[in-house]
């Protein structure tokens, strides 16, 4: 706020100090930059992609990337077996990867956070019930479960999102439950009780805001997981029809031509790795940078 700055606050404002800590954390800056790069590509895909990602040109198959001698002008990363522009497919692939990542992390986060908050705050039989459910849920192998779920619900993006959320809400639930139990012991909660705030109010308005930094970290890490799961599911053709430019689908297609056109497989693999590493670095960096804010 401008007023605070003018009145010459002696101590740095909370947001100012946190922002500074974030901007001086290498992993946050690096991971954030790579994520931003992919996010911009995803958002502005129609403007950035030089060609239609599904348009085939059978006269221009297997055009190698620009660094090869046989490269064609205008095809930065070459074309695939059907003459589709790789760069355009990668850009649209970022769109799908990030959409799934955000939607799945949001859905998993919402379900897991609500249940984790309730279990951690109310304890007793509510906690026991929710914790048992989590344990049973986690006993299933995740990838297998997601494949079964998508097979049952049918392929498509929404199935992929639901499958990831249905599996990974437990991740949020466990961590949020533990954090809520820790927050509940804090003196500010006892103060809230002694001024007569109700339980629901204390949980949502007093405790939840103090869990938010942790949620941001979990959300980022979950996005990374979702990107991998989406790639796996489209690799085994359980995501979108192979026409659609998903990175996993491109890897799967490229595998067949790996001897004559290795770039078909290598480029989408690099995209997956770059995005996942960026999300993990960002998540870990945020954990360090936000931690002091949480412990204050």
């Amino acid at each position: 706020m401008a007023e605070a700055a003018v009145s010459g606050a002696r101590r740095p404002r909370a947001t100012g100090a946190t922002t500074r800590r974030l901007l001086t954390n290498r992993r946050v800056v690096l991971g954030g930059a790579v994520l931003l790069f992919f996010a911009l590509a995803a958002i502005f895909a129609p403007l950035l992609a030089p060609r239609d990602p599904v348009e085939q040109d059978l006269l221009l198959q297997y055009v190698p990337p620009v660094w090869s001698d046989e490269a064609e002008a205008g095809y930065l990363f070459g074309t695939d077996n059907l003459g589709r522009d790789i760069l355009s497919r990668l850009i649209y692939g970022a769109r799908i990867a990030l959409f799934v990542a955000v939607a799945a992390a949001a859905a998993a986060g919402l379900l897991g956070t609500v249940l984790g908050l309730i279990a951690g705050y109310f304890g007793g039989w509510i906690d026991i019930t929710i914790s048992r459910l989590v344990e049973i849920w986690m006993a299933f192998p995740a990838v297998l479960l997601s494949i079964v779920l998508v097979a049952v619900m049918g392929t498509g993006l929404h199935s992929v999102v639901i499958a990831i959320a249905a599996i990974d809400w437990t991740r949020f639930c466990r961590v949020v439950r533990a954090e809520t139990m820790a927050q509940k012991q804090q003196d500010y909660v006892a103060s809230a009780v002694t001024i007569g705030l109700g339980r629901a109010r204390i949980l949502w308005r007093e405790i939840l805001p103090n869990v938010v930094p942790l949620l941001i970290v979990l959300f980022t890490l979950e996005m990374g997981i979702a990107v991998i799961v989406e790639a796996i599911l489209s690799y085994v053709n359980l995501s979108l029809a192979s026409d659609f430019p998903t990175w996993g689908g491109m890897i799967s297609d490229g595998r067949k031509y790996v001897n004559q056109a290795p770039w078909l497989m290598i480029l989408p693999i690099l995209c997956v790795i770059a995005l996942v590493l960026a999300l993990n670095a960002l998540g870990d960096g945020l954990k360090d940078a936000l931690d002091p804010a949480m412990r204050r």
């Binding site: 706020m1 007023e3 605070a4 009145s7 606050a9 101590r11 404002r13 909370a14 304890g123 804090q186 003196d187 500010y188 006892a190 103060s191 809230a192 009780v193 002694t194 001024i195 007569g196 705030l197 109700g198 339980r199 007093e206 805001p209 103090n210 938010v212 204050r296």
Partner: protein, 301 residues
């Protein structure tokens, strides 16, 4: 009970309170029939060594004892009504306007996620039904009353942006915001610097006098008691050893333990005096008495 009963009908009356911690098949008595009365507008000191159960009495009065603690007997009468078994709704109605708390640790007792102004305004809106602007204006007044410097700015700040002494002033403002009849102050100055301690103590006394609230003042410092308390209760092992007017307790203590506590307290008027810790033999005797009490009351679970 020892000591003369207060003249007026007590606002708070703790009667023969038994409280124990239950866990893993064990049953640890914490309060062994503790009793005390507080009159309207009285500042009542509760003194004793660490572990005596002072905090537990304060929490039991407010109904915020930790979950393994169970009240196994006796009662807490607030304005004549037993408040040990209130429903959630009844308890909430009592908080803020009936009772309030000045906590021990101002560093951790404010919510780190909310601005100071919002935290004060919340109480006003909840109990006095004020709207947002009215609550904001009243919050500013309250900060002025507790002598917070630059109150307009503090309203917009987060707890970690202000000093411990300022936070304690904010917490005092919150405690007094809805004019409660009783405030539990649990060692409200121990976490503060010595110079700040004196100011905060004076502030609590002034606010108390101005609002006419009663205070249950928990401390281990008889020096503090002598400064602001009208009456004192001496607690050891969850048992009340002695109760009385502060002057009488300080000048003519009846119980050996009270004498020992006084001998262990530095005196500003006689700074040359040697401080003597409470003799081990006395502590051993009191502990034995506590165990004998447990045996007689069969409260081993």
């Amino acid at each position: 009970m020892t000591g003369a009963p207060p003249r007026d009908r007590p606002i708070l009356s703790v009667r023969d309170l038994h409280l124990a911690i239950a866990g893993r098949g064990r049953h640890t008595p914490i309060l062994r029939g503790a009793s005390l009365d507080i009159a309207p507008s009285e500042v009542h000191g509760l003194v004793g060594e660490s572990g005596a159960g002072k905090t537990m009495i304060g929490k039991a009065v407010l109904g915020i004892q930790p979950s393994p603690a169970r009240i196994s007997g006796g009662s807490v009468l607030f304005e004549g009504r037993d408040v040990t078994h209130l429903s959630e709704r009844e308890r909430r109605a009592l908080m803020g306007r009936g009772m309030g708390l000045i906590p021990q640790d101002p560093m951790t007792s404010l919510n780190p996620a909310h601005r100071i102004g919002a935290q004060i305004a919340d109480v006003l809106r909840l109990h006095l039904g004020m709207d947002r602007p009215a609550a904001g204006a009243r919050a500013l007044e309250l900060l002025n009353e507790v002598h917070v410097r630059a109150p307009e700015r503090v309203l917009r700040q987060y707890p970690h942006e202000i000093s411990g002494g300022m936070r304690q002033r904010v917490l005092i403002a919150i405690a007094f915001a809805c004019r409660p009849r009783l405030i539990v102050a649990d060692e409200p100055t121990t976490a503060l610097d010595v110079t700040v301690q004196r100011q905060v103590l004076a502030l609590i006394k002034r606010m108390q006098a101005q609002e006419g609230a009663s205070i249950l003042f928990v401390t281990h410092d008889l020096g503090v008691v002598a400064k602001i308390c009208d009456r004192v209760t001496v607690l050891h092992g969850g048992r009340v050893l002695e109760t009385g007017e502060t002057r009488r307790i300080v000048e003519a203590p009846e119980h050996d333990y009270t004498r020992a506590l006084i001998a262990a307290t530095p005196r500003h008027d006689r700074p040359g005096d040697l401080l003597r810790p409470v003799p081990e033999a006395l502590t051993a005797r009191l502990n034995a008495e506590a165990l004998a009490y447990d045996a007689a009351h069969g409260s081993h679970g």
